[in-house]
């Protein structure tokens, strides 16, 4: 396994929290999956009937160039990749995204549809919702690449190739937040993907199942509940966790 340090250089503030690297790589690879290609003619969106309907994808089934390891007490393999590490936040604030009913377009409605509408609830509800915005110049992940990649390239080269297709990260990327200007993939001597050394003991670098055998004197963690593998939103993967803090 080859330890890597991956840096994402940002050109605009990031909204919400940065993603985990293994999830990003799986997202890029998923567009190459046979089931997706068959149903979409290679486009991003399906234009035909997906052929994998009814067959759930098991966590870890999407091939990425990062090594995965099995831990005690959890059924799925966990990538050797740290949680995102943000550089010093130059500005931490809130912006808002809004919506209002387009009353100036009432003339487009059929005469029978022209009526008084409620704009504080229901389908026409107006809103002004907050979004946490942080100005950071880069985000870093430490990870370990796989020894053998199907394409024959090194893990670093393959990772760089996949990440070139990630143009922005975080929330509301369609509105210009989290715009990526460059990806750097560097080889490192030491593996900091799960733990990093410190004077007080090893520091936890990645969210891991609480059932993992942790080193003694573990530092910098809190207990939580969630998914330790992608897709991170999937409740079926939830378990007791230790996460960096």
């Amino acid at each position: 396994m080859r330890p890597l340090k991956i840096t994402c250089w940002l050109n605009s503030p990031i909204a919400g929290d940065p993603p985990r690297l293994d999830a990003l790589l799986e997202w890029v690879m998923s567009a190459k999956m046979r089931a997706v290609l068959e149903s979409s003619n290679g486009d991003r969106h399906t234009t035909g009937m997906p052929k994998h309907r009814g067959q759930p994808v098991v966590p870890g089934a999407i091939p990425i160039p990062l090594a995965r390891v099995r831990v005690d007490g959890y059924p799925h393999t966990i990538p050797l990749c740290s949680d995102p590490i943000m550089a010093d936040t130059s500005n931490d604030g809130v912006e808002y995204f809004t919506r209002r009913f387009p009353s100036e377009m009432s003339g487009l409605l059929a005469p029978t549809e022209r009526k008084t509408v409620t704009v504080d609830s229901g389908a026409n509800k107006s809103y002004r919702l907050p979004l946490r915005i942080r100005l950071v110049d880069r985000i870093v992940w430490f990870c370990c690449g796989r020894d053998k990649i199907d394409t024959g390239r090194s893990a670093g080269t393959e990772t760089r190739k996949l990440l070139r297709k990630v143009y922005s990260i975080g929330k509301k990327t369609s509105d210009g937040y989290g715009q990526v200007s460059r990806w750097d993939v560097e080889l490192t001597d030491d593996d900091f993907s799960w733990f990093a050394p410190s004077h007080d003991g090893p520091v936890l670098m990645r969210t891991l199942p609480a059932s993992t055998k942790f080193p003694d004197r573990l530092q910098g963690f809190k207990r939580s509940y969630g998914a330790p593998v992608a897709p991170y939103w999937m409740a079926e993967n939830y378990t007791e966790l230790l996460m960096p803090c």
């Binding site: 050109n11 605009s12 003619n41 399906t46 309907r53 130059s90 604030g93 487009l108 409605l109 549809e113």
Partner: protein, 317 residues
């Protein structure tokens, strides 16, 4: 096969630009974003990606579909929301009708581009709209990073952002003073005036913004939908921000499509597609979002109870 396009745009400001974000007392303030500079964090005027996305793409694209399919005055409320906001989730349940999703993405390349919502399912789009970055010294590094590789900038020092910021002021008129002869003689000449000054910040004409779009894994139809929307927006005056009715916010925008594509062919293919699928798209809209209710036939008035239809009683007669 799909392609990922990057469209870089340079917008020159032709009239005072008032893309506002908040007020200070009676004065409206322009939208600014924090930028790290060698001298520390500075707040620089910008254009929000959300505004660029709606004004340059969704709004002109939706109007084009409504014109082509002759839908003006025929839409149901949910259909209006679909065209101008992408639709709403209005039904519960956790079922997904993949056939209906496929139909929507096939019939509406614009919605495939921008994303939208069926009544029971949110669908993501393919378009990343960048924020508008002001061409100024504070943003020098960011602008260089946005440019395609191989582009060279003959670089004198750029002007600082604040040199592009000034103010505007207007006065709301008083009809009692501008056209007093139209008022009845009984009106009170001492009535309190509602004359009001209002003012705010603006970005001056002559400033410029770099922005752009990334179309991820799209077909030529989505590219055509975007390019057509940009052309329609530019031909209609190309405004962004508030007070367009007073002539504010006009932009002159040039674009560079990477990889180079035949823009006219993509637009032509999209227009052909829109015309070809018209009947199917209208059926889809009515089936999924519900057709506008038909007007009720007017009941004949009961004998002896008909209202007097003289012009005094029927102002619309």
């Amino acid at each position: 096969m799909s392609t990922t396009y990057k469209i870089l745009a340079l917008s020159e400001v032709l009239s005072p630009l008032t893309h506002a974000k908040g007020v200070e007392g009676n004065e409206s303030l322009i939208a600014r974003e924090p930028v790290v500079t060698p001298a520390g964090v500075r707040f620089i005027p910008h254009l929000s990606g959300n505004a660029l996305r709606h004004r340059l793409v969704r709004d002109p694209g939706a109007w084009f579909l409504i014109d082509q399919w002759e839908l003006s005055g025929k839409l149901a409320m949910s259909q209006l929301n679909f065209f101008f906001h992408g639709g709403n989730l209005t039904q519960g349940g956790n079922r997904q009708n993949t056939s209906r999703i496929s139909d929507m993405e096939r019939l509406f390349p614009l919605i495939r581009l921008l994303g939208g919502s069926l009544p029971d399912q949110i669908l993501s789009g393919s378009l990343l709209s960048w924020r508008g970055t002001m061409v100024c010294e504070e943003n020098r590094e960011r602008i260089f990073r946005l440019a395609p590789s191989g582009w060279e900038f003959r670089g004198e020092k750029l002007r600082p952002a604040e040199s592009f910021v000034d103010g505007y002021q207007y006065t709301r008129g008083q009809a009692a003073t501008s056209a007093p002869s139209l008022l009845p003689k009984t009106s009170d000449p001492e009535e309190a005036s509602n004359l009001m000054i209002f003012s705010g910040q603006c970005v001056l004409a002559g400033a410029a913004f770099v922005h752009g779009f990334v179309l991820q894994h799209v077909s030529d139809l989505e590219l055509g939908a975007l390019l057509l929307s940009l052309r329609l927006w530019q031909n209609a005056g190309g405004t962004i921000g508030g007070q367009a009715a007073r002539g504010h916010g006009r932009l002159s925008t040039s674009i560079h499509v990477d990889p180079i594509a035949d823009e006219d062919a993509a637009i032509g293919a999209y227009i052909d597609h829109v015309r070809t699928v018209k009947d199917e798209a209208l059926k889809f809209l009515d089936a999924v979002y519900g057709a506008a209710k038909a007007e009720k036939a007017e009941k004949p008035a009961k004998k002896g109870k008909a209202k007097d239809a003289t012009p005094e009683n029927n102002l619309l007669a």
